[in-house]
Structure formats: structure tokens, C-alpha cells
């Protein structure tokens, strides 16, 4: 079965080609069937592979030799193991639901653009599958930049709007900064080990010095910071909300942005051997989690709140990786994919009903107009807030417990972020669905529940958001309840041997769960009460509120410190150094020669040939003096 793994990326690739080339001739129904069907086919194959891996363990499938030189060889090969099979299911499963949803959400687009959208979406899934399936860092990098390309194309999908185009470009360029780190790490590995194939690298880590491992892991992490929107490379993700909402759900919440977590989980043995890097990851992750959560508290755009929430949740995943809770991080990737995709699709349903209004100050009371959207959104909010027994509770709890084992301070700060999460999510929920409707009459008149192609994915995702955490129930509750940990164990086996185990007493663990749950419930009640009767009175935020609403002015800071100086430097180089400096010298030399020859009137002036002859003679004389070589003299005396 594993031999057929190439089918998984092949179907979306075919879907991309068919929809891309046939976007003018195919009907929307056909495009939808091809686009969604391709992903469904991949999902079915992924399921078979999952069970195959469960039964028979991991394999590597070689397709062909991609780059083979005398110094190294990079095969185009796929890694079929526990980690990749879990990601395959997430990508194709959620991918299919979002494709289905899109066929209704994007229906207003003209035929050609509808086809283009599905082509891009299929190409994205193809790239994401390459990223996850690659058996070496170069194939991963192919997918890595491929998803960046698709992200660029989809953020700027409505290319008439220049703001969207800027957002698309910003996303690609920021990702490229991270990609440079990734590439340098790849070169480092090739230089020291002569291979980038996972199996060979992990088997030969002993040959690397601590410095090498630290440098390689840090550089890879720089790549992860870009792709997974961590401080300081996160500012592209909120802007990426310019793309159509299904894109935000699939790319900028459920799959692409988790690539950094996948990469580090994949390289877990390297990271376990680089404690310094682990500390950096934990601190950066935690800082991002808190920082983004503060911004989310004051955003009024429904998608922006979710975007900052995504940045924040990704921060938790990195915290998990940093403290060695690899399973916990992957677990949170999975549950987050469920509830965040659901939140975005729910937001899309709301935006659809509100005729492209995204400002939650102009919403309210949507509960009675959109019952399915409302219920599923509420379940997702409970899941992300971490209320037991919803899925987010288990994954977040696992990360925070591991963080406590490493350093209790991590836990307390992380819990603070979790409380903020609960607050901003229920602020969002309350302002959108509770209270009175604050939009125009026109909008109110058209409010409606979305069609079933949109609500079915919501329902499926809601079920997963509720129950998805039950495959990872901690041991204190049920002995061997963590099926995911058991399944993934082979991937993290080497790291587990090296890691130090902090075991908490069962009673302590229960106490932490209890206290945090009660605190979160209190915060939720506060948030609902504070915003239930929200009226938009036009009052502006002041003080810290204003700073948060303006996202700590980080974009302005980057402009002032990096973008503008670079632009000015480029202008200086173009207008001064190039024009007056280098070219000025060149022209000056030219004029000098011309002037000299006119003055000397050795030859008729004005002819190119004469200038050159003068130069040649001068040079020949120069060379002769330099070498003072008898043979040359003899030769010349023969000629003249």
C-alpha cells in the first residue's frame, strides 16, 4: 500500500492541471467536482496508508533521483511513517471539507476565476503534501516554498485590490527571510554529513559537534518562524486575511502555518540534542503566544481576531516543542486544525450572510438567523478556550503540563495567555452572535443560514472539535488513554530516551486542571457579560487599548527601521553611486582618453579605432616594460 503513496500528491496535481487549463471551458459544477474529488481521493488513499503504517510501520518510497552530483545525492523520495500519515489525514481531510465549502462560498465568482481558485487550492494541497511526505530536507523545502507560492497567489486572489497584492507580496517576502535560514541549514547538513535524507542525518548526528547542531537547529527554526508566523516574522499572517476566507481556514490556520511545527517535530532528535535552541524556541513561542493574544483582545475584524489567535496558538505549539513535548505539539496541531478551521469557516459563513461585512461592531444577534453557524462556532470557541472535554483542553493541557515540568514560570505565563484566549474568543462570539443586530436594515433583511455545502463541513468539524481530543486523554485520567502518543512513539523514540522526565503527581495534575478550568470559565462569563449589551458608540480606544488596537505599532516600527532605510539606500545607490560614481568614473576615463588624443593630435581624432589603437599601443609598451622579455623583442624586431 505504501508504494502507492505517490497517488496522494498526484490527485491534487491532476486537479490543478485540469482546473487550471480548463478554467474557461469547465462549468462551475465540474470544477467543484474535480477540485474536491481530487482531495477526497487523496484522503481515501491517506486513510489506507494510515492503517498500513499502523500495521506494518514506516517505509521510505524512492521515486527518482532529483539531484545527484559527485558530492551528494538527493533522491525524490517519500517518507511514509506515523508522523507523516497523521499530517496526511489532517491535510486531505480538512482540505476536502474546505474544498467542499468553497464550492458554495466562491460561487459568485465568474467561471474563470472560480476555476482559477480551485486550481490554486489544489496546487496548495499538492505542495503541502510534498512538504510533509518528503524524505529529505530538500523535498521538504520544495513543498515549503510551494505552499509559499500558493499562499501568495491566494492572498492576492482578488488581484484588482492593491492592498491585497501588498499583503500577498509581504507574505512571500517575509517567508523568504525564513527560507534563507532553512537553506543555510540544508547547506550546513550537506557540508558536514553529505546527506539531507532524514534517516541518514538522524543516524549520523553523532558526527556533528554541539555547535553544528545548535547552528543547524537555529537556522531551521528561523525558517519555522517565517512559515509559522512567530516573533519577529509574524506580521504577514494577519495581513494574509486579505485572501478568501476558505483560504484563511485551510492555509493560514489549519495546515501551512503548522509546517514549522512539523519540521521541528520531524527533526526532533536534532532539537533534543540542542538544549540551547530548545530554550530559544520555548521563549519565542511563549512570547508570541502572549503577544498575539494581547493584540487579539482589541481587534474588531472577525478574521483579524482569528488571525492573531492563530499566531498565539502556534506560539503554544512552539512552547510544546521547546520543552520537548513533541507529541503534545503535534496533538495541538491536530485539534487546532479542527477548531480553527471551523472558526474560520464559521466566520466565512457570517461574512457570506453579512455581504462581506467583517467588522464585529456591526454584527450582533446572529444567533437566531444562523443557528447551525452559531452552534458550531460556540463549540469551537469552547474547544479553543480549553474547556474539558472539548479537544483543545487535552492538547493545551499536555503542552502546559510539560512546560511546568521544564520551568513553572512557563506554565504560569502560558496560563495567562490561555485566559486571554478565552476572553477574546468569547468577546468575538458575544459581539457576533449575542445581543442585538447592529448592522443596516438592508443587511438584516438578507441574513440567512448558509447552504448545506457550507454547513455540512461546519458540522463535521464541530464533531471533531468536540471529540478530537479523546485520542489523547492523559494517563492520569485513563491508563494508556493517549492513543496518539502511542502511535507516534516510534518517531520520537530517540528523543524520548534522551529527555529528562518530570513526573507530576496525579493529584497535582488534577489540581492544575481544575484551577485553570475554573479560571477560564470565570473569564468567559466576564467576557460575555461585558459585551452582551455592546453598543457601538464610536468611542475611540485610549492608552494601552489604542496601542493594542494598532498592534503595538510593529508594522510601523518595521517600516521605520528596515523597509524605509533599505529603500533609501537603494535610491542612493541608483541615483548617486551608480550614476555619478561608477558610471561617472567610466565616462571620465573615456573623456580623458578622448581629450588626450585630441590634444596630442597624434592621429586624426574622432575615430573609435584610433582611441583604441592608442590604448593598445600603450598597453603593449607597458607589457613589454613589465616583462622585458627577449623573445617578445625578437618577435617585434622581426615584424617591424
Amino acid at each position: 500500500m505504501s508504494k502507492l503513496v505517490y497517488l496522494v500528491p498526484l490527485f491534487p496535481l491532476l486537479g490543478f492541471l485540469i482546473n487550471g487549463l480548463g478554467r474557461k471551458s469547465l462549468s462551475k459544477t465540474m470544477v467543484g467536482i474535480v477540485g474536491s474529488g481530487a482531495i477526497l481521493a487523496s484522503f481515501i488513499v491517506s486513510l489506507c496508508i494510515f492503517f498500513d503504517v499502523k500495521e506494518h510501520g514506516a517505509t521510505v518510497v524512492n521515486l527518482f533521483s532529483f539531484i545527484r552530483t559527485e558530492s551528494f545525492s538527493i533522491p525524490f523520495a517519500f517518507q511514509v511513517d506515523q508522523l507523516s500519515s497523521v499530517f496526511l489525514l489532517i491535510i486531505t481531510g480538512i482540505g476536502f471539507l474546505i474544498h467542499l465549502y468553497s464550492s458554495a462560498y466562491m460561487h459568485e465568482e465568474p467561471n474563470e476565476h472560480f476555476g482559477r481558485f480551485f486550481a490554486y487550492l489544489n496546487l496548495f494541497v499538492f505542495s503541502m503534501l510534498l512538504l510533509v511526505l518528503g524524505a529529505n530536507y530538500v523535498i521538504m523545502f520544495i513543498g515549503w516554498e510551494g505552499v509559499g507560492l500558493c499562499s501568495y497567489l491566494l492572498i492576492g486572489f482578488w488581484f484588482k485590490n492593491d492592498n491585497y497584492n501588498y499583503a500577498a507580496k509581504k507574505a512571500f517576502v517575509m517567508n523568504r527571510i525564513g527560507d534563507l535560514g532553512f537553506l543555510l541549514a540544508v547547506f550546513w547538513l550537506l557540508f558536514k554529513l553529505g546527506t539531507v535524507t532524514y534517516g541518514d542525518v538522524f543516524a549520523n548526528v553523532a558526527q556533528l559537534s554541539t555547535f553544528d547542531i545548535t547552528a543547524i537547529t537555529m537556522l531551521l527554526f528561523v525558517g519555522a518562524m517565517g512559515k509559522s508566523a512567530q516573533l519577529p516574522l509574524y506580521t504577514w499572517l494577519p495581513d494574509a486575511m486579505a485572501g478568501p476566507t476558505p483560504v484563511s481556514a485551510l492555509i493560514h490556520a489549519a495546515t501551512m502555518v503548522t509546517a514549522g511545527i512539523y519540521m521541528i517535530a520531524r527533526s526532533n532528535i536534532l532539537y533534543t540534542l540542542a538544549p540551547a535552541t530548545q530554550t530559544v524556541i520555548a521563549v519565542v513561542g511563549l512570547a508570541t503566544a502572549i503577544f498575539a493574544a494581547t493584540i487579539a483582545l482589541k481587534q474588531n475584524d472577525i478574521k483579524k481576531v482569528l488571525a492573531y489567535s492563530t499566531v498565539s496558538q502556534l506560539g503554544y505549539m512552539f512552547l510544546g516543542l521547546g520543552v520537548g513535548a513533541y507529541t503534545g505539539a503535534v496533538f495541538h496541531v491536530m485539534t487546532h486544525a479542527f477548531f480553527k478551521a471551523l472558526l474560520f469557516l464559521g466566520a466565512g459563513s457570517v461574512i457570506h450572510a453579512m455581504h462581506h461585512e467583517q467588522d464585529i461592531r456591526k454584527m450582533g444577534g446572529l444567533k437566531k438567523y444562523m443557528p447551525v453557524t452559531h452552534i458550531t462556532f460556540l463549540l469551537a470557541c469552547l474547544a479553543i478556550a480549553g474547556i474539558p472535554p472539548f479537544s483543545g483542553f487535552f492538547s493545551k493541557d499536555e503542552i502546559l503540563m510539560a512546560a511546568y515540568g521544564k520551568n513553572p514560570l512557563y506554565y504560569y505565563i502560558g496560563l495567562g495567555g490561555a485566559l486571554m484566549t478565552a476572553f477574546y474568543m468569547f468577546r468575538l462570539y458575544t459581539m457576533t452572535f449575542l445581543g442585538n443586530f447592529r448592522g443596516t436594515h438592508e443587511q438584516q433583511h438578507h441574513l440567512h443560514e448558509s447552504p448545506s455545502a457550507m454547513t455540512i463541513p461546519l458540522i463535521v468539524l464541530a464533531i471533531l472539535s468536540v471529540a478530537g481530543g479523546w485520542i489523547g486523554i492523559p494517563d492520569v485520567m485513563i491508563e494508556h488513554g493517549h492513543q496518539l502518543e502511542h502511535f507516534l512513539a516510534p518517531v520520537f523514540a530517540e528523543s524520548a530516551k534522551l529527555a529528562e522526565h518530570h513526573h507530576l503527581e496525579a493529584s497535582t495534575e488534577y489540581m492544575f486542571m481544575g484551577v485553570s478550568t475554573v479560571a477560564i470559565i470565570i473569564v468567559i462569563i466576564l467576557a460575555v457579560n461585558a459585551y452582551r449589551k455592546y453598543q457601538d458608540n464610536g468611542a475611540e480606544n485610549t492608552g494601552l487599548g489604542k496601542v493594542l488596537e494598532n498592534k503595538w505599532y510593529i508594522d510601523e516600527l518595521y517600516d521605520a527601521v528596515i523597509v524605509n532605510p533599505l529603500n533609501a539606500l537603494a535610491g542612493f545607490l541608483k541615483n548617486v553611486v551608480e550614476k555619478s560614481g561608477i558610471d561617472g568614473v567610466v565616462n571620465g576615463v573615456g573623456r580623458l582618453v578622448g581629450y588626450g588624443s585630441r590634444q596630442l593630435r597624434l592621429l586624426q581624432s574622432g575615430q573609435v579605432g584610433n582611441y583604441i589603437l592608442v590604448m593598445v599601443l600603450a598597453m603593449v609598451v607597458f607589457v613589454l616594460i613589465w616583462f622585458n622579455d627577449q623573445t617578445i623583442m625578437d618577435f617585434l624586431s622581426k615584424i617591424f
Binding site: F159, K169, V173, A570, G571, M619
Partner: protein
């Protein structure tokens, strides 16, 4: 036989062109000749795995011989030359040049010269072809070029000619050192100049090649020349002629002056990397698509030059395949630039916008070229850049990291150009724009297929030049 045919088909075709009646026959004839040349080159690559050579007496008294050889690197570059011309002729087929017979005749003569440069294994013959390639281009620019053509061509000519003459002096110096007073490549390889004299003659050669590539700070002739030349000629200049400099460094410079090359490698690499960042930054601020491509090209060439002087196998392998891939890709960019200028009458980003709504096919094709220009994986440029950066990394980690900044800047200026030309709302110039003509579209489709095919499966190109890489590295 193949080496002789590679030169004589375009040479005879070009000379015959001058005798044709003016009219569309001239371009048809030129296209036909270039297709025949392509067939010969493909046969040379596919049917003759071993090295092909040809040798005849030429200028007896001096000991110069008409000797040609087709090794891996020559195969790669003659193939590039042979592939490029039909693409160029095809894409510009609807352009009507004044005096087409002379125009196409000169183009083919330039092709013959280029072929000779890549094939010659006799230094004097090499010099002869070097000039043969240059002179037709000089006429093409000065007769068919833009408004500032005279002044620009003059600078271009003087600059490159000074370089050529420096090289000629260098050739003569080596010639007198050869035991058998011969210009043969092997004799040149056997000469080992000592200390200071090797370093001095090294610079005579290197300046010639550095101007040709061009390497910072000898590049200022280039953006002007690219901008003012007729686009078909610009494609030859930037797609193939810049490769003369790189080729010559590998074939004539490194093996003859190994000590000097090693001695100056750091200086040259630092110059090249400086040039990469310098040109990339300037490209960001260009408002003219042609000048943007010109500076982008300088940045890419800088990487190739740096990778050569890193003097290790991955770097050199990368340079080899990048010579081919860069040629194909940059021609694709020029074709789009020309299509835009011909139809809309402007090349300025500030006067363009929204073209994707009017010409979606051209937009898609340009986006492919753009992402090849920033070396996205699975495009052909990625493999070359990956190997070259790899080579640079082995030379020095910090230099590789600094040079790596150019891949970020490349994304900035390339995506800028995509956005400013194709996205946003239409403006006056693009309000009534249409798709480019079918010829342009088909040529761009072919280039797109090449970009992807060579990006997914680059192994044949890597294998093609293996013999040259090994020979060069063994000679050190």
C-alpha cells in the same frame, strides 16, 4: 563534424541572408537556419556521448590552428545558443525590422561567432570568434537600436573592446611562453607563469571576462545597452553573450592561472557578492521593466562568478547548469518585456497596471518566468542556485549568508514588477490592451515547459557537464 556544422550552418545561413531580397523571406530563412542549427546541436548532445573534435591548419606561420572541440560544457552552451535563436526569432517574428535581410544576417553571424567561442580550443581562434560575435552585435545595436543608441553603443563597444584587447595581449604573452609557440589550449595549460607575472596576466584576462559578464563594478555599459538594443539583440546579449565571460573564465582562466585565481578568489568573490546585493537593491528602485531585468541579471551573474571562484565541485556544477537555465529564463523575461512595450508603448511600471484582466494568459506566463527568476523550487533556476550557494557555503559560511540576502531581494523586485504590471486596476495604457500575439504565447509556453521540465528533472543537465567539471577540478 558536429563542431564544424555548428559554426558553418549559421555562418553560411547568415551570409546567404545578405543576398536575399528584403522582405519576410529573410526572417523565414533565418528561422529555418536556426532550426537546422538546433537539430545539429541536439544531435551533438544526444548522438555523440564522447568528446567531438576537429582540427585543421589555419594560420601556419604563427602556429595557430583551426581546432574545435565539443566537451560537456561546450555541448551545454552550444545547445543554449542553438535553442535560443529559434525562440528569439519565433517570438519576434511579428516585429518588422528595417532592412530585414541585414538584420537577420547579422544575427546569424553573431550566432556563428558565439558557437565558435564555445568550441575553439586554439587561443587565437577563440579571440577571432570572440570578436566575430561582438561586431555584428555592435552593428545591430547602432543601426536598429533605440533613441540613445549611438552614444550607448559607443560606450558598449569601447568598453568591451578594451577588454578584448587586454585579453589579446594576455594571449600573446602566454603564447610566447609556450614551449612550441602554439595557441593550442593544451599548450596554454602547460604554461605555468611564476608569481607576479602570473598575477599580472591573470588580470589581463579576467578584466576582459569581467567586463563581458559583467561583474561589479564593470557593469555600467550593460543596463544601457540592454535598454537601447533591439530586443532580439538584447536577448542574445543577456541570454548567451554574458555566458561568454563565464565560459571563458572556466575554460581559459582557471586552468592557465591556477595560483593567481586562488590568490585573488576572495577578492573576486567579495566583488561579485557586493555586486549581487548592489544590483538587487538598484533593481528594486527601477521603474523600467528592461532596466529591472538588466540589474536582476547582473545580480544573477554575480552569483555565478562567485560560485566559480569558490572552486569546488557543487559550485561549479551549479554554474554549469545555471548558464543554460539563466539563458532560457532571461530570454523569456525579455519576450514579455518586448510584448508589453510593442503593444502598449511604454515600459514604465508607473504607467502600467491591471494587465492581468486584459491579458490573463500573458500574466500567467510572466508569473512563471518571475518565479523562475526568484528560483522557486521545481523551476530550473532552483537547482543551479541551490548548487551554487552550496559551493559558496563550502567556501565561507558568512559570504554565503550575505549573498543569500539576494534571494530575498530578488523576491522583492520580481514580485514588485508582477504587481505593478499585471495586478491592480487597469490604467490608460492598459485599458484597451489585448493578449500578446500567438507567436509570443507559443514561445513562452515552450519556455515554461522547459523551466518546469528542467526544474523537476535536472539530472541530464548535471550529467552533461560532468566531464568538464571533473577536468577543471582535477587541473587545480
Amino acid at each position: 563534424m558536429i563542431p564544424v556544422l555548428l559554426i558553418s550552418v549559421p555562418l553560411v545561413g547568415g551570409l546567404a541572408n545578405f543576398f536575399l531580397k528584403e522582405g519576410s523571406l529573410a526572417k523565414t530563412w533565418a528561422l529555418l537556419a536556426s532550426v537546422i542549427t538546433l537539430a545539429v546541436a541536439v544531435a551533438g548532445v544526444c548522438c555523440y556521448p564522447a568528446q567531438q573534435s576537429f582540427d585543421a591548419s589555419w594560420i601556419q606561420p604563427l602556429g595557430a590552428r583551426f581546432s574545435l572541440s565539443l566537451d560537456g560544457m561546450s555541448k551545454m552552451l552550444t545547445l543554449l545558443t542553438a535553442v535560443s535563436f529559434p525562440l528569439i526569432f519565433g517570438a519576434t517574428f511579428k516585429n518588422n525590422y528595417q532592412k530585414p535581410a541585414s538584420f537577420y544576417g547579422l544575427m546569424l553571424l553573431a550566432q556563428a561567432g558565439l558557437m565558435g567561442v564555445f568550441l575553439a580550443t586554439d587561443a587565437l581562434l577563440f579571440y577571432f570568434f570572440w570578436e566575430l560575435a561582438l561586431i555584428p552585435v555592435y552593428f545591430l545595436c547602432s543601426i536598429w537600436g533605440g533613441e540613445r543608441r549611438i552614444q550607448v553603443t559607443f560606450k558598449f563597444f569601447v568598453y568591451t573592446f578594451v577588454g578584448s584587447l587586454l585579453m589579446l595581449i594576455g594571449i600573446l604573452v602566454i603564447y610566447f611562453q609556450t614551449p612550441d609557440h602554439s595557441f593550442a589550449l593544451q599548450s596554454f595549460y602547460s604554461v605555468k607563469l611564476q608569481g607576479a607575472s602570473q598575477q599580472f596576466v591573470f588580470w589581463l584576462f579576467f578584466l576582459a571576462f569581467a567586463i563581458k559578464m559583467p561583474v561589479f563594478p564593470f557593469h555600467t555599459w550593460q543596463p544601457d545597452a540592454y535598454e537601447q538594443s533591439p530586443t532580439a539583440t538584447t536577448m542574445v546579449l543577456s541570454g548567451i553573450m554574458v555566458k561568454m565571460g563565464i565560459f571563458a573564465v572556466i575554460r581559459w582562466l582557471l586552468p592557465v592561472f591556477p595560483d593567481a585565481a586562488a590568490h585573488y578568489s576572495k577578492l573576486i568573490i567579495i566583488l561579485s557578492v557586493t555586486g549581487m546585493l548592489y544590483a538587487s537593491l538598484i533593481a528594486i528602485r527601477q521603474d523600467d521593466i528592461k532596466r529591472m531585468i538588466a540589474y536582476s541579471s547582473i545580480a544573477h551573474i554575480g552569483l555565478m562568478c562567485a560560485a566559480i571562484f569558490a572552486m569546488n565541485k557543487p559550485g561549479l556544477e551549479g554554474v554549469m547548469i545555471q548558464m543554460f537555465n539563466h539563458g532560457i529564463n532571461v530570454i523569456g523575461l525579455w519576450i514579455v518585456a518586448d510584448a508589453i512595450e510593442k503593444q502598449l508603448g511604454t515600459r514604465r511600471f508607473s504607467e502600467l497596471g491591471g494587465l492581468a484582466q486584459k491579458a490573463p494568459a500573458l500574466a500567467i506566463l510572466f508569473v512563471v518566468m518571475a518565479f523562475a527568476n526568484i528560483a522557486l523550487p521545481l523551476t530550473n533556476a532552483f537547482v543551479g542556485e541551490f548548487l551554487m550557494f552550496n559551493g559558496l557555503f563550502r567556501y565561507n559560511i558568512w559570504i554565503a549568508a550575505v549573498a543569500g540576502i539576494s534571494i530575498i531581494l530578488a523576491a522583492v523586485y520580481t514580485l514588485n514588477s508582477v504587481q505593478k504590471i499585471f495586478y491592480g486596476n487597469t490604467v490608460t495604457a492598459t485599458a484597451n490592451a489585448q493578449e500578446a500575439n500567438k507567436n509570443v504565447q507559443w514561445v513562452l509556453v515552450i519556455i515554461t515547459l522547459l523551466i518546469i521540465a528542467l526544474g523537476v528533472y535536472p539530472q541530464p543537465l548535471i550529467d552533461l557537464t560532468k566531464d568538464t567539471v571533473n577536468a577543471v577540478m582535477a587541473g587545480r
